[in-house]
Symmetry: C2
Subunit: 251 residues, 2 copies
């Protein structure tokens, strides 16, 4: 582990409340590692031996069944993921792979479980984190069940703009095929949907998104705090929408 890794991790909401000695003990047992792009970090169903912390790069969480696959989330620095499986000492429900070259910290989940039983402050942080993750998943499920794919695409594009500071133009943080999968549709369908959205106030040219008529887009999306969130609650868990730069919202 590099010397400047620790302050980054300590700064996470999950770790900043705990006693320093416990934090250090935990980091003592952890190790950092660099991974190439496209590497499978976690397989669905494996025992949850490590809590993962993304320091650099980005990680895709995905699920598969019957030969199909779908993206569940994209995790960016500095965030943790698969906390719940570690806590419950249960098999991972999602798989994870690096999107680009990435640097991660692996925290042994056995030590994690031991420490939150001894450190009440840490327990509170874990509670807060899990509650936030849960709420993010509920928002996600609501979006899937209440909106059709066109509405999901539009709300995604508008939300990204808001997260970037209500900018009129920004770059997509992930490639379109991944975005399509995240939004629960095929790449072909996304491609066509983006065309039709040009008349709804947003244009996508390659990776660039341009809000051409915010009022019109807003009218279509009908943004809802109880779906799109005031601000992502579970940033540090990374179980949110793929973001442009998660770190910028947390500081």
């Amino acid at each position: 582990m590099r010397p400047d890794d620790l302050p980054e991790i300590r700064h996470l909401p999950l770790f900043q409340g705990m006693a320093l000695e416990n934090f250090e003990a935990l980091m003592e047992k952890s190790y950092a590692q660099n991974f190439p792009a496209g590497l499978e970090l976690i397989r669905q169903g494996d025992p949850a031996d490590f809590l993962h912390v993304v320091l650099e790069g980005s990680v895709e969480l995905y699920a598969s069944w019957a030969g199909r696959e779908c993206t569940m989330a994209v995790v960016r620095p500095v965030s943790t993921f698969i906390l719940a499986a570690c806590i419950k000492d249960a098999p991972y429900l999602m798989a994870a792979r690096t999107l680009g070259r990435s640097r991660l910290i692996l925290v042994p989940s056995a030590d994690l479980r031991q420490i939150f039983r001894r450190d009440p402050e840490f327990a509170v942080s874990v509670i807060d984190e899990l509650a936030a993750c849960y709420r993010t998943m509920v928002r996600n499920a609501k979006s899937l069940k209440l909106r059709n794919s066109r509405e999901r695409v539009a709300s995604y594009l508008l939300r990204q703009s808001r997260l970037a500071g209500d900018v009129a133009s920004y770059m997509l943080p992930v490639e379109k095929r991944l975005l399509a999968s995240y939004l629960g549709m095929t790449p072909e369908n996304l491609s066509r949907t983006l065309r039709t959205l040009e008349s709804a106030g947003v244009k996508v040219d390659g990776m660039r998104v341009i809000i051409t008529d915010r009022a019109k887009l807003n009218a279509l999306v009908q943004p809802d705090l109880l779906i799109d969130g005031p601000d992502p609650e579970a940033i540090s868990a990374g179980i949110g929408l793929p973001m442009i730069n998660a770190a910028s919202y947390r500081r």
Copy 2:
């Protein structure tokens, strides 16, 4: 509150670990109430003032947006719901209404938040509960994204059979329109889908489900522990599939 309410509540995983005096202090501030069928207990977006515990009857958790509505879960005795909102002191993401006459305990969330900061055992229970709820929502989202509606119906029917003890026949625990909404489809679509499933090894006649060819149904469903669960992890949160009798699995 009735005298026999307390042991029931104390028996919940969420409350059985905490110090008795804290439990009693919490119950002191809580109150029980009976509600008629179809009463709206919680509105989406309201501040989370109370953790709810279902003692009798059943409660539907649902979400709405743009005039649409969908069922997110059905909670049965004895279970709690909307813990995460209480913990975070944030607005409810889902609404709740009674399905039949119901008896609930309302626990002030302010007291709840105070106590888990003082009682480490309770904090651990909360962590366990939230992690389980989270994982249930992940399973849910996976099912929505990886399976089409026919597969979701089939897996629901097979799962209910398993939960009831691998019985060949059982009664649907909820009415079909609610089930359809829970599974993310229209009542008409569910009705038609049930017809087509007769050739896949399961027949539904009114509220009665009959597994006519378990092997064939199994082949269609391809049950997956990482979606359908070995057993519901978050029973006491009730954020699971509508169940025949939640209590029977917990004891």
